[in-house]
């Protein structure tokens, strides 16, 4: 009784009309507008908020906030929070949370300090041990969460308390471990020579332009939609201008006494941040492992049925988060010249979670990017920095930061609702 007949279709079988948009700059802008109206706001609120905050603080404290010295300082202030937030993006994408990342960083930095300062080990070896500490912490958390099935909130809360204690034990009550190695201290305290900053700028953007151009050409050749030349040119020029301004600004002399010490050039930590941004973004968007992270965060059961090792992906997420926390711990120690029992403590972790969420990474899993951590981290740092320049008490700074986080979480929840209504989710 196979009585099904094909419907008589007058139209020729055309396959698909290709992806809408991106045929011209106007199309690209319209497609983006639709995306945002449909509830997929991405990093837009964070970027808008960042610009608004910068304008407000620049207007209120023109003499201090926008100085090159303060801008470089702001980057240093935010670096560790940004790196922890990058790690948290992985965990948040999986729909989990890691509350222990701050003290994981502190503990790893203490391990590095003990071997480097107390035992006299070469810094690369000490750094390797520091990263290993992060891997071990992440593995323990990951195993408990993914194989034993304990909620990550509880496991990492326990790890938060436990690592806080371990850090105290490693350092000893009231003490600190000094960092004396010049190379390690240079990360947060020195700048690239001006010429090197510009070289990296030119080479980096050249590669970016070349790779994106080749990609759009090869996609169009394969009969798929790629950015047309005007869209590609717009994106590239935007990058050239924004990063050019930043590099120029950071290359200005910012020492109060240029005759005594010269202070100019891109801070070294910027290279660390950009390197991590590129490598991690690549892993998340261009490898099948990265795809599986999004899949597990979106629908873990569907991922399992598709043959993905869900527990393994979760485990790797926690390992990456703790390892990045270890790197952040080194940055904190390099900035303070030492590790103390509060390294990675107090508000570090909460600022990092805030940074990831403010940047547009969803707390519900499955949505987020590494660059969110940088944008969100800058928002948090600008609030912190700008308000202290306004001579506000730290009590008020916390309250405002809390408010901004709440706004970001509301934007996340509201955009999800809007997305569900317009069928984008």
């Amino acid at each position: 009784m196979s009585t099904v007949t094909e419907p008589q279709s007058a139209e020729p079988q055309s396959g698909f009309s290709t992806t809408p948009g991106a045929q011209s700059l106007r199309d690209a802008a319209r497609a983006y507008g639709q995306k945002v109206r449909g509830g997929d706001v991405g990093a837009l609120p964070a970027v808008a908020g960042l610009i608004a905050l910068v304008i407000v603080f620049a207007a209120l404290r023109p003499a201090t906030f926008t100085t090159a010295f303060n801008v470089a300082n702001l980057i240093n202030q935010s670096a560790a929070v940004i790196v922890i937030a990058m790690g948290l993006v992985f965990v948040l994408l999986l729909g989990e949370i890691d509350l222990s990342a701050g003290f994981a960083g502190g503990t790893a930095a203490a391990v590095m300090g003990i071997f480097m300062t107390n035992r006299g080990l070469a810094w690369p070896l000490a750094l390797a041990l520091c990263l290993l500490t992060g891997v071990v912490i992440g593995t323990c958390i990951g195993l408990l969460v993914s194989y034993l099935g304990i909620p990550s909130f509880v496991v990492t809360l326990a790890a938060f308390l436990g690592l806080q204690g371990l850090l105290l034990v490693l350092i000893g009550e009231g003490g600190t471990i000094a960092y004396r190695n010049e190379t390690v201290l240079a990360i947060m305290n020195n700048n690239l020579p001006v010429w090197l900053g510009w070289t990296i700028y030119v080479v980096g953007l050249g590669l970016y332009a070349l790779l994106t151009f080749r990609r759009s050409v090869s996609r169009r050749k394969a009969g798929l939609t790629g950015d047309v030349l005007s869209v590609w040119a717009f994106k590239t020029v935007a990058m050239v201008v924004i990063l050019g301004l930043a590099t120029y600004y950071l290359s200005l002399e910012r020492s109060k006494n240029p005759d005594v010490t010269s202070l100019k050039g891109v801070p070294i930590v910027v290279v660390v941040l950009l390197g991590l941004l590129i490598v991690l973004t690549f892993a998340l968007t261009r490898s099948s492992w990265g795809r599986h992270v999004y899949a597990v965060g979106g629908n873990a059961e569907a991922a399992r049925r598709a043959g993905i090792n869900v527990a393994g992906v979760r485990l790797a997420g926690f390992v990456i988060c703790s390892t990045l926390a270890a790197i952040a711990g080194v940055l904190l120690a390099s900035r303070d010249n030492s590790v103390s029992p509060t390294t990675g403590g107090s508000s570090t972790l909460l600022y990092a979670v805030g940074a990831a969420v403010i940047g547009g990474t969803s707390l519900f899993g499955g949505k987020g990017r590494i660059v969110d951590a940088i944008i969100g981290g800058l928002v948090v740092a600008v609030i912190d920095n700008g308000m202290s320049l306004l001579n506000q008490s730290s009590g008020r700074v916390y309250m405002v930061t809390g408010l901004v986080l709440l706004i970001a979480a509301s934007v996340d929840a509201l955009s999800r609702r809007r997305a569900a209504a317009t069928g984008r989710a």
Partner: protein, 209 residues
């Protein structure tokens, strides 16, 4: 222990069965809402070039497969699955199953959550799969659907196969009796038992247990 062809095989997880050319379209579709159509179709089996995702090849082949199944309802293969209708999702789930040169496709209640027009579309698609030479097992309790697409019908009663016959040789009523009572005339169990059931209909049995 199962036999595929004449080789004994052991299946531990979804990955093993995929490797044997067995694809399952689950009742809840098992799609990731936050990924697009191409990403879902290749989930867990991404194409790679130099260890990196080969997006272009995946997109091109996904388009090809969907066109091959005469699917014209999708606007773009880069649409997020969250924004698709129930019928479109079902289409994606089925297309995923045929993307891999599967030998056997098992569909669990593919029309359960669909409207009339969408059901029609999905049934057309199912029939097209069978016409392409794939073995298709369609699990359904909707007899209209069953008679519309099935070549051969098998009825399960209390977890036991009670009858298997050519779809043209029976009537709707006979199948209902088999489903509810386990027997109908000379078909099915010899002695009637309790009620409750879950019927199976198969087109082209391609696999024996």
């Amino acid at each position: 222990m199962w036999r595929v062809g004449y080789q004994p095989v052991t299946v531990h997880n979804p990955k093993d069965s995929n490797a044997l050319g067995i694809s399952v379209v689950y009742q809840d579709l098992a799609l990731c809402d936050n990924l697009d159509v191409v990403q879902n179709m290749y989930l867990g089996r991404e194409l790679r070039k130099a260890r990196l995702l080969d997006e272009d090849a995946m997109e091109a082949r996904a388009k090809e497969t969907l066109s091959g199944l005469s699917v014209r309802t999708l606007k773009s293969v880069r649409t997020q699955v969250a924004s698709l209708s129930g019928g479109q999702r079902q289409t994606v789930a089925i297309a995923r199953a045929v993307l891999w040169n599967s030998r056997l496709v098992i569909l669990d209640e593919p029309t359960a959550a669909l409207g009339v027009a969408q059901t029609e579309q999905v049934l057309l698609l199912v029939r097209r799969l069978a016409d392409r030479g794939l073995a298709v097992i369609l699990i359904s309790h909707n007899l209209t659907d069953v008679f519309q697409v099935a070549d051969e019908i098998g009825v399960l009663y209390l977890g036991q196969m009670v009858a298997q016959f050519d779809a043209k040789s029976v009537t709707n009523n006979q199948v209902v009796e088999l489903i509810t009572g386990g027997r109908s005339g000379d078909l099915g169990l010899k002695r009637p038992q309790n009620t409750a059931s879950a019927p199976t209909t198969g087109t082209d049995a391609g696999m024996q247990s």
